[in-house]
Amino acid sequence: MAKPAKKIGRYKILSELGRGAMGVVYKADDPNLDRTVALKTISLEKDAEGRADYQKRFMLEAKAAGKLNHANIVTTYDFGEVDGMAYLAMELLEGTDLRKRVQQGAIPPVEAVEIGCQVAEGLAYAHGRGIVHRDIKPANIMLPERGPAKIMDFGLARMRLADHKTSTGIVLGTPRYMSPEQISGQPVDQRSDIFSLGIVLWEMLTGRRLFSGTEMAQVSHSITYDEHEPPTRVNPELPAMLDFVVARALKKDPAVRYQDADEMAADLHTCLAEMRAREDEEPGEGTRTQKLSVDGEPTIVGPPAAAILTDTRLPVSRHFDSTAALKRLGKSARGRAPRPVGLLRRIISDAPARRLFVVTVLGAAAGSFVAFI
């Protein structure tokens, strides 16, 4: 990476904000408009071979991203190239990114759903204009001190992914937020962003990592095959409807996932309304139930939903009390495979068969009487 320049194009560098996979982000001053911007630089030196192609793609993507003007998307003001370095001048936001918030633990549910809604709305706007983000992750979601969450780096992921594709076609980078189709190298559309947002939402609600692993193959396998644990199993205080929203966003098959981000945003708004209504309820009204652990054992967490689909392991419902039956089963194994019913039992227990038998016997007796009297 080149040394921090004092000036890039017409922008006067004020300080360094951070470093990423593609370059450095500076706080810079735009003297023409007298405003402070975030200037993202992208080094082109490493891409000498396909440089012309890269430059062309960068211009196309930056132009497309520059057209996005939405409250939940970081605005791109300007872009250009100077001294072998491409740059993007973007709206400078005071605040933190979602990654740092999630690292501190689960986000309060109402706030998490609000952020999810805002990101979904931003995505819906971009998708409506034919732009897919391809790299939705907490680090790309800004939480300004004031105002709604904003999505960063539209269009850049495509350049980065194309850049990091090896000769064998393996996609490198941070795969933990990729969709199954993206991680397998198949073409992606807006539904891939929805899957990524589903992961972000799950992590916000639970404060855990959904697909963790130290190796690419491990993460890739998890994304492709492992089903997530419903958020309410991790945090029973969450409304059950969030399970459905997250489950739908995290469907492995894009055909049964949310088909557009608007649909997901609408569902999240409904969840939000329900959660706010619950918050507004007077404390002390109605009853509140709390699950108590037995014999000092920790509260049972049910098996992951993965089991439901893959090996038919179903969790005991929390809505019904099955303790008596489970205790009974615990004491002794019951039942056996059904056996064929014997003739005698059938005659005793089956009324039509019994009638047939009796009438036949009587008929035989009558016939004998007639024949031999």
Partner: protein, 235 residues
């Protein structure tokens, strides 16, 4: 992501499984999914009330619910039939019935869930059944026959299908008219048999040389009895 644990060594057992599946659940909006799920819970609560708590285990499924009925397959069939009446109030259900092997699932504590072929087949059968339809497997029918011989006739053949594991299943669907038809058929066969047997008796008598005519023989043999009867009545 917590890794799935290997199954524990809890003993397996046989029981009837009613798998209630909400049709096209995955394709519905989450708001509707939540509504349907709540409706299903209400339906299950009402329909399962007739089974004693020690006789059933309620399980959650991704797109419905499974009820393990430990004692009586007839109760499982009744439960499925009553649950399917909820279709009328806008709950698009199908039901799969199976009687098969089950096991308490491994977990941090025994009894956390259930697994087994009993559930897998019931789920496959429910997935195969169309909206507002009940289908039962051959083993469920056999279990019905064992519990109450003759009642299995209420399950009429409904064809066969291959599940995703390429296992062929012979399926049956409830048809309570079949019970009446069977009863009438058995009665008709009984009458026919009786007529045949008496006819054979008459034939044997006619074919035997030197036999007294049947009515004369009857009258001759019964004469002392009815004479005595007449005398007693006269007194």
């Amino acid at each position: 992501m917590p890794a799935a644990k290997s199954p524990s060594k809890s003993p397996s057992f046989y029981a009837s499984v009613v798998f209630l599946k909400i049709q096209d659940f995955a394709r519905r909006p989450a708001t509707e999914q939540a509504r349907l799920r709540a409706q299903l819970q209400a339906v299950v609560a009402v329909t399962a009330a007739e089974i004693p708590p020690a006789g059933r285990v309620m399980l959650d499924a991704a797109d419905g619910a499974a009820i393990v009925v430990l004692d009586d397959p007839r109760a499982a069939l009744r439960l499925a039939e009553r649950a399917l009446t909820a279709v009328a109030v806008g709950l698009p259900l199908s039901a799969g019935l199976n009687h098969g092997a089950l096991q308490l699932a491994a977990g941090r504590k025994s009894g956390e869930g259930m697994t087994g072929d009993g559930i897998a087949v019931a789920a496959s059968v429910a997935a195969f059944a169309g909206a507002s339809r009940i289908l039962a497997s051959r083993t469920f029918r056999d279990a019905m026959a064992e519990a109450a011989p003759g009642r299995e006739a209420a399950l009429a053949p409904a064809g066969t299908f291959n599940d995703p594991g390429l296992r062929a299943h012979e399926l049956f669907t409830p048809n309570h008219r079949a019970l009446g038809r069977r009863s009438r058929r058995y009665s008709a066969i009984a009458v026919l048999l009786a007529v045949c047997l008496i006819g054979t008796g008459i034939g044997v008598r006619s074919a035997t040389p030197g036999q007294q005519p049947f009515m004369e023989a009857v009258l001759e043999r019964t004469e002392p009895y009815w004479r005595e009867l007449v005398q007693r009545v006269s007194y």
